[in-house]
């Protein structure tokens, strides 16, 4: 027996607001991060991700403070990413109540960042977030919020990232982001079949069945969605129940009672 498959909600945050994007652009405000975090904690999501997608130097302070307030609402694992470029910055995030940090562009520029974080805080706290798009028959890593193609092969980068210390991979499909076309199964398989760490598939989910298909057809450990959960087009308990009904092991949801 192994661990349960996970259903993860993601807060894409910009300038203190949760936003929605399609193929990484056309963002618009959805709502308040604290309220959403509280709701997901109560609905039984398995984990929450907070990505400050346009974190710049001057906005970092605000983002860290908001992430800390989100952490206060949660009694589940919490990952924070966006603009983390040093082990010190990772440490600052972890001290605010996050359990893991997700690093992306900075790790592509300097892969030793993964090693530095893993050595100081453990691989379990070090998530490699990869923004990937299809490029002919292969998959290419793109950095800086989906704006700058690198020419790097995503499969090779995933393997290297794990060798350098990443304990988990967050695989974001740029092509599927916000499209409701379902997870990119081929891309997820290409990565999840070659690494030993858990892979979180992200981008394109629109139905509970998309999660079932993901877990049936790929070795992914977790499926992530954002705006469909925020807008209540899909609820966590419904997704969990659908996955369980398909015979896949998942943590059942139960009412969250705070005294």
């Amino acid at each position: 027996m192994t661990v349960a498959k996970r259903v993860i909600a993601c807060l894409d945050v910009r300038a203190g607001k949760v936003v929605k994007s399609v193929r990484f652009v056309d963002t618009k405000d959805i709502g308040d991060a604290i309220e959403l975090a509280r709701r997901y904690n109560e609905e039984g999501v398995d984990e929450l991700l907070f990505l400050d997608i346009n974190a710049s130097h001057e906005r970092r302070r605000t983002a860290v403070e908001l992430a800390s307030r989100v952490a206060d609402e949660l009694f589940i694992p919490f990952t924070v990413g966006g603009g983390i470029a040093s082990a010190d910055a990772a440490g600052e995030i972890l001290r605010t109540g996050a359990d893991k940090v997700a690093v992306n562009s900075a790790a592509v520029r300097d892969p030793s960042l993964l090693t530095a974080i893993a050595e100081r805080y453990g691989s379990q706290a070090c998530v490699l977030s990869m923004d990937v798009r299809r490029s002919g028959a292969t998959f290419e890593v793109v950095v800086d919020g989906g704006r700058v193609p690198t020419g790097r092969d995503a499969v090779a980068w995933a393997k290297e990232g794990c060798a350098r210390g990443a304990g988990e991979i967050l695989l974001n499909s740029i092509d599927r982001d916000g499209t409701k076309l379902g997870f990119d199964l081929e891309m997820t398989r290409a990565i999840a079949e070659v690494v030993d760490v858990p892979v979180i598939a992200s981008g394109g989910a629109s139905s509970a069945e998309d999660f079932v298909t993901l877990f049936r057809q790929t070795p992914a450990d977790a499926g992530l969605a954002a705006s469909i959960f925020h807008y209540r087009e899909l609820t966590i308990p419904h997704v969990k129940a659908t996955i369980a009904a398909a015979g896949i092991r998942v943590r059942p949801t139960e009412a969250f009672v705070r005294r």
């Binding site: 027996m1 192994t2 661990v3 349960a4 996970r6 904690n41 039984g44 398995d46 952490a71 206060d72 009694f75 589940i76 694992p77 109540g97 359990d99 805080y121 453990g122 691989s123 379990q124 304990g167 988990e168 030993d196 760490v197 858990p198 450990d221 943590r251 059942p252 139960e254 009412a255 969250f256 009672v257 705070r258 005294r259």
Partner: protein, 198 residues
């Protein structure tokens, strides 16, 4: 007061916050004399056993916790905090545990993946007054697991075979998982412990 032993290791704020959420006061305590006056002690811990053991002893908490144990002060160990109750760990041969429970801690073998990261289901197998209705799903992050002597295991989890998830004896409880990160089931467990030791 419930004292959360603060030796600079572990997600201490999360543990305190979880107790508060279910209505119990808990304080982070680094000062040995204050630890000695605690009504109950939580021993957290995360990461490398050797690092945790060294920091724990560097802060001089060993004698205070052992003394509390001998006076019957209730103890709760979480993750590596629980592992510290044993004599030692394969993870660090040179770093001692407290020896409050018989058995050792070894790397998990024959498992799907190391570390075990994620939610798994715990079945309570032994009787303990603090463990009413503790069956449930909890969040695990670990590569090493306790291999207790007979009678010490109170709950198990199936991860490539049965592993000790809850250990304990009279007045002492240890959990391999993170109750502070385990949603409703984790909060229930902390609440039940805090009520029992009040």
């Amino acid at each position: 007061m419930i004292a959360i032993a603060d030796y600079g290791v572990g997600n201490l704020a999360s543990v305190r916050k979880a107790f508060h959420a279910v209505g119990h006061e808990a304080e982070l305590v680094r000062d040995v004399s204050r630890l000695r006056s605690a009504r109950a002690i939580v021993l957290p811990g995360v990461g490398h056993f050797g690092h945790c053991s060294r920091e724990f002893h560097r802060y001089g908490l060993g004698p205070a916790v052992s003394d509390a144990r001998s006076r019957g002060v209730p103890l709760l160990g979480i993750c590596v905090g629980m592992q510290l109750f044993f004599e030692g760990s394969e993870e660090a041969d040179d770093a001692p545990g407290l020896g409050l429970l018989a058995g050792t801690v070894r790397k998990m073998r024959g498992v799907p993946r190391l570390p075990q990261i994620g939610w798994n289901e715990v079945r309570v197998s032994g009787g303990h007054p603090w463990l009413a209705a503790a069956d449930g799903w909890y969040y695990f992050v670990h590569s090493y697991a306790a291999e207790p002597d007979a009678g010490v295991t109170l709950g198990t989890v199936d991860y490539g075979g049965e592993r000790a998830a809850i250990v304990g004896t009279e007045g002492l409880l240890g959990v391999q998982f993170h109750p502070e990160k385990s949603g409703p089931s984790g909060l229930r467990l902390l609440d039940a412990w805090a009520r029992a030791v009040s």
